[in-house]
Symmetry: C2
Subunit: 439 residues, 2 copies
Amino acid sequence: MHSTRRYRRYDPAMTIGIGIAGAGTVGGSLVRRLVEERSVVTAKTGLDLEVRRVAVRDLSKSRPSIPSGLITDDVMSLVSDPEVALVVEVMGGLEPAGAVVLASLQAGKPVVTANKELIAARGPQLFAAAAEAGVPLLFEAAVGGGIPIIRPLTETLAGEQVDRVLGIVNGTTNYILTSMADDGVGYEEALAEAQHLGFAEPDPTADVSGADAAAKAAILAGLAFGTWVAPDRLHAEGITSITDADFKAAEQLGFVIRLLAVAERRPDGVSARVHPLMLPADHPLAAIRGATNAIYIEGSSVGELLFAGPGAGGEPTATAVLGDVIDAAREHLSGSQVAPAIRVEPGDVVDFGKVDTQWYIRLDVIDSPGVLSQIAAAFGEAGVSILSVRQEGRGDRATLLLVTHTAPEAAQQAAVATLRSLDVVESVASVIRVESEEA
Amino acid sequence: MHSTRRYRRYDPAMTIGIGIAGAGTVGGSLVRRLVEERSVVTAKTGLDLEVRRVAVRDLSKSRPSIPSGLITDDVMSLVSDPEVALVVEVMGGLEPAGAVVLASLQAGKPVVTANKELIAARGPQLFAAAAEAGVPLLFEAAVGGGIPIIRPLTETLAGEQVDRVLGIVNGTTNYILTSMADDGVGYEEALAEAQHLGFAEPDPTADVSGADAAAKAAILAGLAFGTWVAPDRLHAEGITSITDADFKAAEQLGFVIRLLAVAERRPDGVSARVHPLMLPADHPLAAIRGATNAIYIEGSSVGELLFAGPGAGGEPTATAVLGDVIDAAREHLSGSQVAPAIRVEPGDVVDFGKVDTQWYIRLDVIDSPGVLSQIAAAFGEAGVSILSVRQEGRGDRATLLLVTHTAPEAAQQAAVATLRSLDVVESVASVIRVESEEA
């Protein structure tokens, strides 16, 4: 047989010291599994992972599940401690999380983080620091919780031209939207129920405003297209203005309403955004109910892929973090950078106003002859065609349910602005974008 | 800052010679993309991949899409050619595919294959050869075509205890089953339509008998549990005996019928099998229609995950193969083995007779007093409890639709054997296993 080069091996028996920043729901689950199931992980992976230090903000808070000898309130000690070979950041927020992640990478320590806000806001800087140090920065848990999505996008689809990613990436809002649609409850009641069940925070603003989903949309755009969408270039709308009448209209029109993160490749650049969307009832994402998350990918060769599962929760998220820790530990022991260095750089980001969208509009109007022609004229002037109109009479007033053809978002907005100025229009009660075949 | 170890880098500009065995649908798509989109792949990954040789069985067949200078009918030349650094096997079947895969690994060449039959039949030998040589053996396309499933199972879920994997892993049979259910067409007509549309081969035996799905079930069991289930330990049933009456009964009972690959961890070992299964209509896999494939994973910490997409076809499958090629090329250039070496070894495989199952049974009986007590006695003797009975009268004869509680498969089979011997039972028209909460 001809000559061959054998690959270098590493000694898997070497213990790898893990430092963890954050001991909340995810951090607590992770520490428990690394400590209690240490031998299970070793049997399954051949790696010996040992938690050496757990950094928290407040030492006075009791954490009975974490061995007290491990706890410190000096987060930056994870960077300087030579016993810590690999840093896990599960504290969330921009600081001190950002400082410990950056300093760890600069110190040549692999980093695993679940922090979507940090990756979305400072992705280019952190990926560059990881590439410069030649160490992995892994963040599978930052989007979709326990759903494997980062690795499929960056590895399995490495040779694919991805065209579009649609994600239900916020379980709180999906729970609220499906409760409102199925049980006919109002927004406040659905939110209170979500809070009672632990699906929503006491302060739900980040979820219901779309801010949480926006960070994930930015990350998905970066991974799918390599283009960084800065937070201020990302249009984000939440679900607080959707009413029971919209759910009834959606049902009549054959749609369901979901809050979606959208990342798509367009001829003039990349668009990333978050807004409610009416989806055809037979769309794969329409079947995603309750707090479940799902990501739907359209690729030019692979076609359509759907990934669904638990988008939050300590245990599922800790599973994704643990998978990253095992990957990063392997790479660390091998001494070679093998995982694809993620390159996310500023690029062409399309203004939302230039993106083609399709709209559902619910209008309260005075029911008199000529009303529809005035309304049609408003759309015509803006260059927007009407796909369908449905009238629901109420004596001398009426409600119109309009669906437009696709047109640039700015044109749709201009048409609606004109509608608001018409005497025959009492109110533009609701607008929701629509996903259909032509979009 | 304290001292740190920088990782070794490799020179990504080095060209990697690719040898491809097989130029059918998948091989043709792969060659086209590697040749026509070579610069696109380089721009996206930083790797320069060059097809150096394409081996086919029959040189006389015209392949206009493949540069003629690349084609050879000497498959083993991929092993000996020093210009070929990485071997892709997409010819299918056990030989000569098995010989070229094994010899390539032994020669220290990374191998990417889409060959489920080969991995299922000779997994332990091939994984051992890859581990011995320290080179990757990747096979993302072997299960679920373009759906990323191997990497999520082996990497993202590396720290998870997977309990069960259910897969719709054969598009042909899923297309036939959903056509029969939705359009009320018979098996022969649905098969002919699938053949006409290219979803079924002219000889559909491997698909409709469950053999194709069985190979995938064995692979899923190996990856999820590390236990090799030899082909002769794997119970496989197909779809040829399912009739229109079963679809009607399923609908009445709130079920849909799917052909499923099942791999599960049980206290006494691992079970892998393939058979039709009645799933509750709201089960995530019940929504998978037509030729789409889907894999559903239950983990003790992560909960339930669903992956769905195109399970076959040249372009989607080539996407999965290309992702593996990029991965293997990175590992090859780095000179380090980083991807988890897959360990699949003989272990405890549970006899299907000992696995708890739940059955739907359709019986044609003589409608006379005492029939039900004789039938109930047959189940009682076998130790099987009846969950529900539904009678459909037809004059002096009747059809009974029975659903049992869970009991060992052998007990269910014994009960049915007794039924067949009863004078009041004209025929056991159909038996299909049932998935319900208690299973």
